[in-house]
């Protein structure tokens, strides 16, 4: 069976490309084919997972070469897949959540005339993402990396008739290019320094290279990860990416693609293990993003943007955990999976709410929706409890472990994650209160109604997964499962017992939730947002996404524009000026020469006569001499 893992990629790829070129007659059934293709991948993934789980712990890794992709002198790249416990978990997450979102989209996109195309893009995305996680070579990862970038671009801009969507797609593409540059440079560095881009070989031979090489490689990979995972400083595209259809936000910009950066860091654990500095950089980036994302999430009134801020923040957690080294890799992946469940759940729930509210995304127009949308409310509540880390829910286990590990690494980092947990509770409670509780604030012509079953069933499944995802940690299963990939985990002894740590976290979460309840649950919410001038600076900063766009504008765009203008000026006035100036001088000289050419025959005759005289005088002079 494990020889057929390539089918995981091939099925959605063939389905997606096939439907894309099939034509209009596929409009009627294309979405079903796409969903079945995704589901088939999922089934294959489950079968492969069971077979892998059945093997010995040392034997759980299969590398299968399909064909030689590039063969150029010493440079050799195989098109090969590497199926190991880490890849297996990702395959299940991608195909599982992906299939649910395919099903959900059948309902959500039912009235869109370009539905077939939407499903084609989703399938292509699934194929590219699976290529990314199954790749055995960094160059193949890069292939999938660009593939998901393309799919993300196509899907963010799916409603391209909206200028904002087209601009958001372009922005995502451009910002991702910055990250991709880092990734490409990292791969080139690998080849230059280690002579190979094969993941296993790189991780094995990085020890022989100097620490500075490992640091450079790690920082470049981190740049790539920042771009894909919307980490500071390349975070600005994610909030705009919410212009895409909501299932896209759930699948690509919450559950799977944006976590590719975390995957890349974990997959390159050999490199990061070899460089303390690179790991520190990862921790710093993760911590900053965690707090920035949470801050933004507190200030946004747009439900999808609030969730997007939350996504940034949660990926910050994962990134931070990945930066902790072997102590954190497993927890990063664990949180990644539970987050995949509950964030996809909440995004789809938000989509269901928008569906009910005529595509209005402003939470200030919601309120008291729990009675109108009971199923959505219930499943959303499961996701909510999971993300804030309510005891027993999946997020509780995964986040606890990260905070614990962070405290084991450094007290200040630990306090930062703890603060993040509190803020998470605050903004998620705010979101819940504004959406489902309080008084109804929607306008009269809006009639909220529960979504059809095809949309609510995925919600229920994901809700259940949010509730039960913590089971993966039972008996440290996931840590043992990932050990062959990420290495042995040392256990940190904290100054205080783990149980007390959990109690502290729960207490902080409770404080955050209570604050939000007091602010938004007890008091009526204005249905028009206060103006920027009426709110204090933290809110203002959050609303403006921590001025990320302005910072990019000031630090990158303007200097580049100025440089360009200077160059254009130099080119125009300097180089062109010299050339055109030369031409101008020649022109002026010609103008001067024009003057004697006056058309008057007698002037010409005078010239001739004077010339003849000159010749005569010259002849005479020569003769006399």
């Amino acid at each position: 069976m494990l020889d057929l893992v390539w089918l995981l990629v091939a099925i959605p790829l063939v389905s997606g490309l096939g439907l894309l070129v099939w034509g209009k007659e596929a409009d009627a059934w294309g979405h079903l084919v796409a969903t079945v293709a995704s589901a088939a991948s999922f089934v294959l993934g489950v079968v492969a997972f069971i077979e892998l789980a059945g093997r010995d712990a040392d034997d759980r890794s299969v590398t299968h070469v399909l064909f030689t992709w590039i063969e150029a002198g010493p440079f050799h790249v195989d098109m090969a897949y590497h199926y190991d416990p880490l890849a297996a978990l990702f395959v299940l997450l991608i195909t599982g959540v992906g299939t649910l979102i395919h099903v959900y989209s059948i309902g959500y996109m039912a009235h869109d005339e370009r539905r077939r195309r939407f499903f084609c893009f989703l399938n292509i995305f699934v194929a590219a993402m699976l290529t990314l996680v199954l790749a055995a070579d960094y160059l193949v990862i890069f292939l999938g990396w660009e593939g998901v970038g393309l799919a993300s671009y196509l899907l963010i801009g799916f409603w391209q008739h909206k200028p904002s969507a087209a601009a958001a797609a372009k922005k995502a593409f451009v910002v991702n290019r910055v990250g991709d540059l880092g990734m490409a440079l990292a791969i080139m560095l690998m080849f230059a320094q280690l002579g190979t881009t094969d993941i296993a070989s790189v991780n094995a031979s990085i020890g022989s290279a100097s620490t500075s090489v490992a640091t450079a490689m790690g920082l470049l990979l981190l740049l790539g990860a920042c771009g894909k995972s919307a980490q500071v400083p390349l975070q600005s595209w994610l909030l705009d990416a919410m212009e895409g259809p909501t299932p896209v936000s759930a699948l690509i910009h919450a559950a799977t693609m944006v976590t590719a950066g975390v995957y890349l860091v974990v997959r390159s654990n050999g490199i990061f293990d070899a460089s303390e500095a690179a790991r520190t950089a990862v921790v710093v980036v993760g911590l900053v993003t965690l707090l920035v994302g949470a801050w933004i999430g507190c200030a946004k009134d747009d439900i999808k943007k609030a969730l997007a801020g939350s996504t940034m923040s949660q990926i910050g957690y994962m990134m931070l955990a990945a930066g902790l080294g072997p102590a954190g890799y497993a927890f990063a992946i664990f949180h990644l999976i539970t987050h995949g469940f509950f964030k996809a759940n909440m995004f789809l729930g938000a989509g269901s709410v928008m569906h009910a509210m005529d595509d209005d995304v402003d939470m200030r127009h919601y309120g008291a929706l729990r009675t109108s949308l009971p199923i959505t409310f219930a499943t959303f509540a499961l996701g909510y409890l999971a993300i804030i880390g309510f005891p027993g829910f999946s997020g509780f286990f995964s986040k606890d472990k990260i905070i614990e590990a962070a405290f084991g690494y450094n007290v200040w980092v630990g306090l930062g994650t703890l603060l993040g947990a509190g803020v998470t509770a605050f903004y998620m409670t705010r979101l819940m209160m504004m959406t489902f509780f309080g008084e109804k604030r929607w306008r009269d012509e809006v009639h909220p109604h529960e979504s059809p079953l095809v949309m609510t069933i995925p919600l229920m499944v994901l809700g259940a997964a949010s509730l039960l995802g913590g089971a993966l940690l039972a008996g440290d299963w996931i840590v043992d499962w990932l050990e062959p990939v990420v290495g042995h985990t040392e256990h940190h002894e904290l100054a205080i017992p783990a149980l007390a740590m959990s109690a502290i976290i729960v207490a902080v979460v409770a404080v955050g939730a209570t604050l939000a309840y007091l602010t938004y649950g007890r008091r009526p919410v204005a249905d028009v947002a206060p103006l920027d001038s009426q709110v204090r600076w933290p809110v203002r900063a959050g609303r403006h996404e921590m001025y990320g766009n302005e910072i990019n504008e000031a630090l990158v765009v303007r200097p580049v524009q100025h440089t360009t203008r200077t160059l254009v000026f130099l080119d125009g006035r300097g180089i062109d000026g010299f050339v055109t100036g030369l031409a101008d001088r020649l022109g002026e000289a010609s103008q001067a020469l024009r003057k004697p050419q006056n058309g008057l025959v007698r002037s010409y005759a005078l010239g001739i006569f004077a010339g003849a005289t000159l010749v005569l005088v010259a002849l005479l002079a020569v003769t006399l001499a």
Partner: protein, 255 residues
Amino acid sequence: MTAFWTLAPVMVVAALGLLFARKAVHAALCLAVVMISLAVQYAALGAPFLFAVQIIVYTGAIMMLFLFVLMLVGVDTSDSLKETIAGQRLAATVVGLLFGVVAVLAIGQTVTGAVTGLGQANENGNPFGLAELLFGPYVLAFELTSALLITAALGAMVLAHRERLGARASQATLAERRMREYAETGRHPGNPPTPGVYARDNAVDLPARLPDGTSAPDSVSQVLRDRGQVRPAPGAKDPVDPADTTDTGPREVEE
């Protein structure tokens, strides 16, 4: 040498007349003087055939041609002697003097040795000697000049020919045009009045007198009016207003 020394000053003066004569006709006459004097010089230099040719071709044909063209272009037009190109006259004078002095001093002194004279060459008569050369060694050039002359004659005809663009106006159309002009502008369709004929001045440059004693400017030829050569009719109550005549260019008013 008597002929030379007699004629040389005349020729130089006549040539200078070519430079200073204001009227083209005077210049042509000066040129004719130079050419005839040249013919005499030829005769003195033992070239009686060229003497005849010079008289016939130059003074006879070419000068006549010049005079004809002068008549066509306007015999009365004279150059204003004001120079229009800045410095042209001064430069021409300087260059001309330089050229003349250098040429006369240098080239004029190159011929040395005794004069051979044409006594032997003209043994059988000058035209006979020329004919021997023309139809001997120079026969090809001679034939070519005949081709050149024919080409030149054809070229002149082509250049001077004017293409008729429309049909020739018939008497009927002319009459119709006159009547239409009368209808539109009130111009009289009949003949203009003839110039006045008086006891003292039987001339075309006097306007006719109308019954009321005023003069009729229309009666004088347009050409004379253009030149401003209309004299006031004796005894007319209103002499022709000079402003009535339209001046079309710098023309000299003759008495």
